[in-house]
Amino acid sequence: MAEENPRDLVDLTHDKLSVDAVSESVTCPSCGAISIFIGTTRNSFDGNKVVRLEYEAYVPMAQSELRKIYADIRARWPTVRHICVHHRLGVVPVTEASVIIGISSPHRRDALEAVQHCIDSLKATVPIWKKEVYEVAEPCWKENKECQWTEQT
């Protein structure tokens, strides 16, 4: 039965992301809870109007770092069933999703906590970069505060 095997799903794609697709990919008959996190593009930063974001990734390493996070989640929340991360690359217009994380579990606490841990870890260790392009100011490579080697921390 498909239900027996936990799924570890990763997709790094230039296509528009779909919440329904992530939700369906982690649905399972023995789970009562799905928790989903969606990161979207904001329209301003420090008063500068953001026109779009541009994402790039070190794709094979991003995939392997995500799988390390999944292994960590399964060690911390053993009842977690399916895990799925879709991350968009290239240009992401304002209000569209850059990342969608979906996790299912029999009871809700595990899925809720695991999703929070997953986005925190993704920001700290997965080699993906975002350039914010403003209406007026110079484009800027962003730095996650969760990343251990930024100068800003």
């Binding site: 700290a124 260790t125 080699p127 970069w129 490579w141 730095e143 080697w149 800003q152």
Partner: protein, 86 residues
């Protein structure tokens, strides 16, 4: 002994080198700090980000220091600026 590796540059480091990737010859045994110096020798503008990048060797993070790495033909090396995924 030297060996040939592929170096990937991302985000700010790609802008500074003007390259997404290149294949270079480097000593097959060296410290991560010496490996960084090899890259700066080719692209002096990289020195501007020394304090805010780490390296990856064979898709695993390595910190700058006296830690030795053994490189084999075709290995991937990457310059990893501060992450901003999510």
């Amino acid at each position: 002994m030297n060996t040939e590796v592929t170096v990937f540059y991302f985000a700010k480091s790609a802008e500074l080198t003007g390259l997404k990737s290149e294949t270079i010859r480097v000593p097959s045994e060296l410290t991560t700090l010496e490996l960084w110096q090899e890259l700066v020798n080719r692209h002096s503008r990289l020195s501007a980000v020394r304090e805010s990048v780490v390296l990856a060797v064979r898709q695993e993070y390595v910190a700058f220091g006296n830690q030795r790495v053994s490189l084999q033909h075709g290995d991937e090396v990457a310059v990893i600026p501060p992450l901003s995924g999510g």
